[in-house]
Amino acid sequence: MPGGRPARPGAAVTGVGLFTPAGADRATTWETVRVGKPTAGLEELDGIRYLACRAPELPDGPGGLGRAAVARRPDRSAALALVAAREALADAGLDAGTWDGMRVGVVAGTGAGGTLTYERQLAVVREDGPGDMSPFAVPGALPNAVAAQLAVEFGIRGPSMAVTTACASGATAIGVALDLLALGRCDVVLAGGSDASLSSFYIAGFDRLRALSHRFHDPSGGLRPFDVDRDGFVMAEGAGFLVLERPADAAARGARTRALIGGYGATSDAHHVVAPRPDGSGLAAAVREALAEAGAAPGDVDLVNAHGTGTPRGDAVEAAVLARLLPHGPPVTSTKGVTGHLLGAAGAVEAALTVLSVAEDTVPPTANFTEPGEGVDLDVPTVARSSRVRLAVSTSVGFGGHNAALVITAP
């Protein structure tokens, strides 16, 4: 196995929090994903027509941001993260008011950082002058802003950091959290991802890469993972966070473990600034590495939550890798058909959905999959299935050639 890495105990997932286009909380998001209801709509911004999956309105009151967070003027990416992270901590039964914050860490994945704040304030300084800029411009725009806002809000005083590997960021954050726990740098890690980059810069920029769906006549059918008619992804905004602890620590405090993160693999394509390496060898190596760390074999995989963004080339490479690596043909689903592509949050939201798939023994469907595209030789479920899911793999890849795989197992 690559690197010959020994199996490790992994991490217990004791809390899950979601704030996505599919729902303002974990349960609603999971139900929307389970029934396979797409969330994309047609929008227009700065004269650009595009498809998007919008997060719900931020709630007021106890489930919302809270007064102190409002006063820190978070960028939208941080605001979405605060709501998801609060749900994850509550789910874990952890009270930020009583814990030893020095033993808690946060790893926040982001693709675009605080780009909405950056773009708005750049327009202000150019059009109205420097004296009209908000003092919250820089702390809102920096890529570390999500991690910093979560640390301040919840009194997290151990290691805190942003990680960014484009659209693999959320999965990378969970992988880094596993390392922090294995090294004993802290005892609890809030790990996940958040992105809010529905801005003209990113919409037009992704479109110039020909990465976005143009199915404007059928917005909800826009993101079609592995489908013969797929034509690109639909941008989404949202956040997902997990609470991770060493399994022995979780057991010692009597916490409910929803699932285990058994292994993580990370590789790079070293090939192109956006295109995947055609042979998919980097992604395949990441999956093999994650399985090896979990002490599992490819034949143990009951479910793959694929990256599956619905781009013609990306899906073809991933489908070939998964068919070759997993000849026993486990179901391969992409929940992006429902949620859209959450970019820097995608890996974390999909890890959370995979945790729930394991916990509920449910294979979620791939919305909008009707007929396999050329070279797609996979079992892609179109409706939810109830079946034993003891071990699942979640794959993520990012522009620049970042590959990440997580193995998630029943406790």
Partner: protein, 76 residues
């Protein structure tokens, strides 16, 4: 701008209404230097009241801020 209008503005910035009285110091009200700068921006750009940032920084209490707002609203 009445005291209540100023209070509502401060609450919209995220401050706790229970901590905002005329006698509250800036610290008690929760107005750090970033929020004071933001307050000056909101007053100038959204309310048309050009209170200089330096004078806001020097105001010790919410009542003093209210006085500055009244003075610059009159000349605006």
């Amino acid at each position: 701008m009445t005291f209540d209008e100023l209070k509502n503005l401060l609450v919209s910035l995220g401050l706790d209404p229970a901590e905002i009285t005329p006698e509250s110091t800036r610290e008690e009200a929760g107005l750090d230097s970033l929020l004071l700068t933001e307050l000056a921006l909101v007053l100038r750009k959204e309310r048309g009241i050009p209170v200089p940032e330096e004078e806001l920084y020097a105001a010790p209490t919410v009542a003093a801020i209210e006085g500055l707002v009244a003075r610059y609203a009159a000349v605006a």
